[in-house]
Symmetry: C2
């Protein structure tokens, strides 16, 4: 079919043009979050908005539309990667065509500046200044859900943007199993006589040595600094402009070097995924992680399953105590327990591995309410506080430690939070039904500092596919079965029963 | 003339679109020079090249061309700012139309990645790796000069890009007067019995306190950090994305805090110029410094006339010794003399105020030879070394301290160097025929730390005009006469006769 090959070539050219604009936007966002001065925000949002407009014109232009819809008729003749590209292009195009250009541009500008307003509001504990921005963002997301369309509930439309194919019905089910399992474990831990002193991790630690340690840590995990850089930002994130410029940020604290350490491991997990995307797809629409959930499975695998694992901490111990002198009064076992202490708390990103998913379930429930129009924005902080009291037994006394703690909504990301919990589930399933199956010496590799061999397994089974296979297909390809919450609960049970002796 | 107003409105809209692309490119360059990982360079040059292509299409599009050439017929009806905008647009358009699109894009990509290659080559003292890049850049500049056209010599065409209206004939004359005057002064200093120990400025100084000091120093000079940021790069520079995001970089050394200090003052001078551009022109083609020479007049005024002046150093003394303990063994007078020691040397950016212009004259002569095709690139390092031996009596023993020391050529800037010397001349003329005339308490203001009042004078007389008046018009507007080298020589004579007692 000569025709399809010709069209496909032109399709790839326009894809590359779109990637050029997208990468430029990516750098503008990175710059905004890491170094841009406060008064630059208005102008920056104009520039980002303009690029969005160019992207919109390119994507909705007649030539590209004709190519995409034409190629869509030839799916059977294509290989998996080509198929995925055309399907993703069509999905995005369907999305674009449903949203009026003007509204799309207005929304792009709004979310381009949202993070800066949020950071200011959080710093000043000022919900009122952020409220109108958030209202607008929710308003647009509701409209967007309406434009996209959904079968059962508008939140489905948003979920699908981050985790293709996921639905409220399905997530409600999975999260119920997860929550019930977590509550059982939490109860057992509450009844345990084991007392863990996590204050041993705190102390006075200058920022510069932390930067040095985190840089070396990322290197040890396999992050390539010839294709990466670390900076600081209010909320840690990773971003990339192709597979040869993949960056992460960390937020340091003078009292607590361990939070920054695990944030770095988390973002490094995201970054290694993007650095391992093959060259042949890096400039296409499948040249990145396939979904937010699979992305989080990687970051959370590195952060928790690997990074908070006994073997890793025992191996990393010498590096930790050499960078953070105060820790050398404690054994690897002390530090392992302190790092894994379970304690319901207010801040998601500081939460332990077990209660973390309850933070996500709270946000998931609030997001559904927001999108269903069931929230009065004046009452949102109270709704947030009430849910924390109910689920975790703790109540925020400030907006900064409550509803203003996360960056996501300020960037327009509603429907993203579930990805974190899905990531936990995917990761544990990959561990039990993949890594432990294929790497019989898995724990030895970690003890010997050979994380690179584990990374290679992930590169082969997850990273190298980019966006070729939808999450559902991918997880079954890797583990031989569909997503199942039991592996994560099994993993937690095995880990915490040893720590808390139940 | 309703018609012209309507057209002008649309003209401004397209100008703003161009500024959007330009600002995005600016951020991409900034990012590349300050934090981008080495392997990102190829992809980055693709993205920058793509944006150049968009800019090219916008500027050479029929609508914009019709507007510009149409408006050009109505110049007499316009105010000064409107006139300047249309004239600048036409000049740029004439330039664009003369250069074939493909060559322009190829060149844009080349210079987008040039700085990264140069930085690597300089670090490794590897001229061979940079030679082919430089050859290509010179080749393109010769072609560009040919496309633009010139009356007497191709270098005129390049000069005009940085200093509109300047010619080799004129610069040859001015530089001859300057060089003769400098050599006379240099001879007197050589014969002086005064010995100055500049080694007192060296020592061991950690980077972090230097960063803190330089940040506070920039603030004291009037640089607004709500609209600015400082980072590090191999070669210090300033850049801006409108008037509300104006940034500078500095390169620190652990042995020498004073070089970074004066580099910061220099770049702050550029930045204050851009921060003072009025809002009503910031998104137009006159929304920036009018020429490189006038820009350098500002940076070099702050760096030398103000910053290396006796009054400033006496006032800054307490801040300096509190940041750099080693300096407190010396008096303000010792430090003033050490900072102003005249000593022919190899590195332009480390040169003293007096010999500095000889570094420029060397580059000016070499650039003319390059553009006239009189240089074999294998011999370029030797030509460079010979000129240093001849003019300054010093001979570089490495490429890094010779021909590879400057970033400019790697970014395609041939014809820029003369601006530095012109900046010296403009600055001294503004001092004698402007500031000292209008601010009778000029030296008192500096002694009292009221630099802001001097900055206000510069804002009123120079900055606020943006690109409204060509350098020749502007200098006459400010000082009542055309550019004259005698003021700079007079300034140097007054300053150095006191230091060296002649």
């Amino acid at each position: 079919m000569e025709n399809y090959k010709e069209s496909f070539k032109r399709f790839l050219e326009i894809q590359e043009e779109m990637k050029n604009i997208g990468d430029a936007q990516g750098v503008l966002y990175w710059d905004m979050a890491t170094i841009m001065p406060s008064k630059g925000v208005e102008r920056r949002s104009e520039v980002v908005g303009y690029l969005s407009q160019l992207m919109y014109k390119l994507e909705t232009g007649k030539e590209y539309q004709d190519l995409v819809f034409g190629l869509y008729e030839h799916l059977e003749e294509m290989n998996d990667k080509e198929k995925a590209m055309v399907k993703a292009a069509k999905k995005s195009l369907d999305f674009m065509k449903k949203i009026p250009e003007e509204e799309y541009l207005e929304y792009s500008k709004l979310v381009a500046s949202g993070e800066t307003y949020w950071a200011e509001a959080r710093e000043k504990n000022d919900y009122e200044s952020f409220k109108p921005i958030l209202e607008k963002i929710v308003y647009f997301n509701k409209k967007i859900a309406g434009y996209i369309g959904y079968e059962k509930t508008p939140y489905d439309a948003l979920l699908d943007m981050y985790e293709p194919g996921a639905t409220v019905e399905e997530i409600d089910g999975v999260f119920k199993e997860l929550r019930d399992g977590l509550l059982v474990l939490l109860k057992k831990i509450g009844e345990s006589a084991v007392e863990i002193d996590s204050s041993i991790l705190k102390g006075e630690y200058a920022i510069e040595p932390q930067k040095k340690y985190n840089t070396e840590l990322a290197k040890r995990l396999g992050y390539d600094f010839e294709r990466g850089a670390i900076a600081e930002s209010a909320h840690p994130f990773s971003t990339n402009f192709g597979n040869k410029d993949v960056r992460i940020t960390t937020a340091y604290s003078k009292e607590d070097p361990v939070t920054a350490m695990y944030s770095t491991i988390h973002e490094t997990g995201h970054a290694i995924y993007e650095q391992n995307i093959p060259d042949d797809i890096t400039k296409t629409n499948i040249g990145g992680g396939v979904s937010m959930g699979i992305h989080e499975s990687q970051s959370r695998y590195y952060e928790n399953i690997l990074g908070r694992g006994k073997e890793f901490i025992e191996t990393e111990y010498l590096n930790m105590v050499s960078a953070f002198e105060g820790l050398k009064n404690y054994s690897p076992e002390d530090i392992y327990k302190a790092i894994n202490k379970v304690e319901p708390s207010l801040i998601r990103i500081d939460a332990d591995e077990l209660t973390y998913s309850l933070h996500i379930i709270i946000r998931y429930e609030i997001e559904k309410m927001l999108i269903n129009g069931e929230v009065n924005f004046d009452e949102l902080p109270q709704i947030w506080a009430d849910k924390y009291t109910e689920y975790l037994g703790v109540t925020p006394e400030s907006y900064a430690k409550g509803v203003l703690q996360d960056v996501h909504w300020s960037g327009g990301m509603i429907g993203y939070f579930p990805s974190y919990a899905l990531g936990n589930l995917y990761g544990a399933q990959m561990l039990y039904k993949g890594m432990l199956r294929d790497l019989p010496n898995y724990y030895e590799l970690i003890r010997e500092g050979k994380v690179s061999e584990i990374t290679k397994w992930l590169a082969d089974h997850v990273h190298s596919h980019g966006g070729t296979y939808e999450p559902k297909v991918l997880i079954e390809k890797i583990t031989g079965e569909p997503l199942n919450a039991k592996y994560f609960l099994q993993y937690l049970e095995e880990k915490y029963s040893k720590i808390y002796g139940f």
